[in-house]
Assembly symmetry: C2
C-alpha cells in the first residue's frame, strides 16, 4: 500500500467519451480509468488525493448494444499537465494499445481551452487573407513529385490564373533532389507573386513542411520570411503538438493547413482508435490548424459522408476562445461531384482539388475556372432551392 | 498530359511489403503505387522519368487467400528525400487512410540504412552502461502520477536498492503540479546517485520527455547535463523523427527508450495499419531507440506472443550499420510469468516491470530482488534444459 498523498486541485475536469466494444463495458471502463492515469494496482492506492483526483471517473455509461457502451470518463485538468502532449497521452496513450476502445468525443472546459490559441486566422482570418468573403475557398496542390522546381513554379502560375485561392505543395514534396525545399519555395513564390501582381489576385503559396525534426523550425521561419502564405504540417508524422507550436509562434504567424498523412490508422477501425470528428475535427482545431484536410466522401478514400460531416461540424462547434477553422475535403474531387459537395458542406469549406484540374484539353487555368464556376452555380442553385422550399 | 520530365537517379530502391486485403489485390496495388507517389492521374504522365522512377513498382504479388495478397512495392531511394519523415510518408502516408492495407515489412538497402545512425548504444552499449553483461536488463517505472517529486525520489532509491538497472518515469509523468519536470528530475537524480554510491551500482534514471514541442530540446539537454542516464521518448505523440533527432544528437548522447503511447492504433486491426514488427521493431530501431517498449503477451494488453516475438526478432535482424537494440516488453509483468517470458525472449531483453513490484508485504527492494532472482533462476533452468536436450 502507498502512503497517503494529499494535494489540492482546481476542481476543473474534462471529459472523454469512449466507445467501448465489450460485453462487459463497465469492467473495461474501470480498467481504463486506471490504465490511463496511475497505471498501478488500484488496491494499493489508499483513500487519498491520488484516488480522488488522479484516477479517472466514470461519469456515465450508456449501452448502445449488448456488446458496446459509450462511457464518459472525466479527468482532473491537472492530470493533463496543461500541455497538449500529455493531454493526448491521458486521453488515449496506453489504451490505444487495447483494441475495442474508441475515442468518440472530447469535452474540455473553457479554462482548458484557454490554454490553447487554436487557429490564428480561422475562417474569418483566412477569408480575409485570400479575399473571399462568402463562397468556398479553393485550394490545390503542386504535383506530381518528380517535377522540377521550375515546372512546379510554372504550374503554380496556372493555378493563380485559374483563380484558386491557395496553392500548396503536394504532401509528398519534401526535399527530393528533383525539387529541393530551399530551391522550390523561392521559385514558386516568385511565380505566384508575379501572377498575383499581373492578375490583382492574392493567392497564397503554402509549402509543405515535412522536414527532419532539427530543421523544422528553421525551414518554417525561412519560408515565412521569404513570403510563404502559409505552412502545411503533417501532424501524423511530425506530431500534433508540433503543429500547435507552429500555429502559436508569433514569429511565424501564417495560416496552417493540416494534412492527414499517416493518421488513417486512427480511424480505420470502427471500434478502435478515434472518431474522425475527434482527430480531424476537435484535435486538429485545438492544435491550431486553420484548415483541416481530410479525404472526401465519394472520392478514392473510404470516408463516409456522415464522417466527413461530423468533422465539418467540429470545425465550427463552440470551443470558447478557439476560432472556427475550415474543413478541407480533398482526394478525388471532380466537377461531377460538386453538387453533392455543395449540398453537404455549404459555403464554409475549403475545397482541395488536385489531379482533376489537369485532366482535359482546356488547360489548367480554364479547368480551375470551370471548377470554381461549377461550385458558384451549385451554391446559387442551392440558395434558390432553399428560398423556394422555405 | 504533362510534358516529359527527364532526370537521373541512383538506381537504389527500397521495398515495402503490403498485406492488401481485397479480392482484387492487384488493382488495389496499382492504385497504391500511384497514391503513395505522384497522387495524380496516371494516364496524364508520359513515358518519362516520373513514370519510371517516381511511381512505385509492383515487384511481386503473392496471394495469401481469395481476398488478400502480400504485394512487394519498390520505390526509388530519391523519393524518400533521404529523410525519415518523407520515408514514413512514402511508406504509409495517404494509404493509411484506406482500410485494408497493412505494412508488413520494410527492406531498405544498405545505402539508405547508412543515412541513419540508429541506436547510439544498442544492446552492447546499454549492457556496458548498466554493468550487466549477459542476463536480462531490468527496468521499472516511477509511479503513480500524483506522487510528489520527493516520494518519487524515495521510490527510486528503493528500486536501486533492489538492483534494477534502469528506472524511468512513468510515461504519464509530464509537467503536472504534483511533480513538475524541472523539480522532479534533479530530486530523483540525487536520490538515484546517492543510492548508487552507497551500493556501488550504476542504475540509470531515465526521465520521460513528453514536453511541449518548443521545450523538448531544452528539457532534454537540461536533463542530460544534470546527469540523466537516458531519455524516454513517446514517438506516437512527439513523432518518430523527433526520437531520431534526439538519438542522433551528440550533445545528448544518452540511451533512448521508446514508449508506445498512442501507437496502438497502428496495430489494432489485422488488415490495416502496420505490423507490430514494423512499427515497434524496424522503425523504432531505425529511429534510434536503444530499447523499444511494447505490451507483453499474457499481460493486460492484447498482443500475441507471436507478435511480441516478431518485434524481438527485428531488434536484432541484420540492418547494416544499425546496432541491435533491446526489446522491452512490459505491462502486467508478474513473477508468475517469468518462466514464459524467459522461454520467449531469452537473455537479450529488457524486462519492464511496474506495479507488480509494489504488491506485497516484503517491500519494494525485496520484490525487485525477488523478480531478478526468479529471472536468473528461470534462465539457468532453461540453460540446463537446453544442455540436457541437445
Amino acid at each position: 500500500m502507498l502512503s497517503k498523498t494529499q494535494f489540492d486541485v482546481s476542481g476543473e475536469r474534462f471529459t472523454v467519451s469512449y466507445l467501448i466494444s465489450d460485453s462487459d463495458a463497465e469492467a473495461r471502463a474501470r480498467h481504463l480509468i486506471v490504465e490511463q492515469t496511475i497505471e498501478f494496482p488500484e488496491h494499493l492506492v489508499p483513500d487519498d488525493s491520488i484516488r480522488e483526483h488522479i484516477i479517472g471517473r466514470i461519469e456515465r455509461l450508456a449501452s448502445v448494444s449488448d456488446a458496446a457502451a459509450v462511457v464518459d470518463v472525466s479527468y482532473s485538468a491537472e492530470s493533463s499537465g496543461f500541455t497538449l502532449p500529455q493531454l493526448l497521452n491521458l486521453i488515449f496513450g496506453n489504451i490505444s494499445l487495447q483494441p475495442g476502445v474508441r475515442v468518440a468525443e472530447i469535452k474540455l472546459p473553457d479554462s482548458m481551452l484557454g490554454l490553447f490559441k487554436g487557429p490564428r486566422f480561422g475562417r474569418d482570418g483566412l477569408r480575409e487573407r485570400v479575399g473571399e468573403a462568402e463562397y468556398p475557398i479553393f485550394c490545390t496542390a503542386l504535383k506530381p513529385m518528380g517535377l522540377s522546381s521550375s515546372s512546379l513554379a510554372a504550374q503554380a502560375a496556372e493555378y493563380v490564373n485559374g483563380g484558386f485561392h491557395i496553392i500548396k505543395d503536394d504532401h509528398g514534396l519534401a526535399d527530393q533532389p528533383t525539387a529541393p525545399f530551399r530551391e522550390r519555395v523561392p521559385r514558386i513564390l516568385d511565380s505566384v507573386n508575379e501572377a498575383n501582381a499581373r492578375n490583382g489576385s492574392s493567392t497564397l503559396y503554402v509549402p509543405s513542411l515535412n522536414s527532419p525534426s532539427e530543421r523544422l523550425v528553421d525551414d518554417a521561419k525561412w519560408a515565412v520570411e521569404l513570403g510563404a502564405g502559409g505552412l502545411m504540417l503533417l501532424p501524423g508524422i511530425s506530431g500534433m503538438d508540433t503543429m500547435r507550436r507552429f500555429a502559436e509562434d508569433d514569429d511565424i504567424a501564417v495560416p496552417i493547413l493540416a494534412h492527414p498523412a499517416m493518421m488513417g490508422s486512427y480511424v480505420s477501425s470502427p471500434v478502435s482508435g478515434m472518431a474522425h470528428s475527434v482527430i480531424f475535427g476537435q484535435l486538429s482545431r485545438l492544435a491550431g490548424a486553420d484548415a483541416t484536410i481530410f479525404p472526401n466522401f465519394g472520392g478514392r478514400f473510404s470516408f463516409l459522408e456522415s464522417e466527413c460531416l461530423e468533422i465539418a461540424a467540429q470545425t465550427v462547434a463552440p470551443m470558447a476562445n478557439i476560432k472556427a477553422n475550415f474543413p478541407a475535403p480533398g482526394g478525388g474531387m471532380r466537377v461531377e461531384n460538386v453538387p453533392d459537395m455543395v449540398r453537404a458542406y455549404g459555403r464554409d469549406v475549403m475545397f482541395l482539388v488536385g489531379g482533376a484540374l489537369h485532366d482535359g484539353d482546356e488547360g489548367v487555368a480554364a479547368r480551375c475556372e470551370n471548377f470554381i464556376s461549377s461550385v458558384t452555380e451549385a451554391i446559387q442553385a442551392d440558395d434558390r432551392e432553399r428560398r423556394f422550399t422555405s
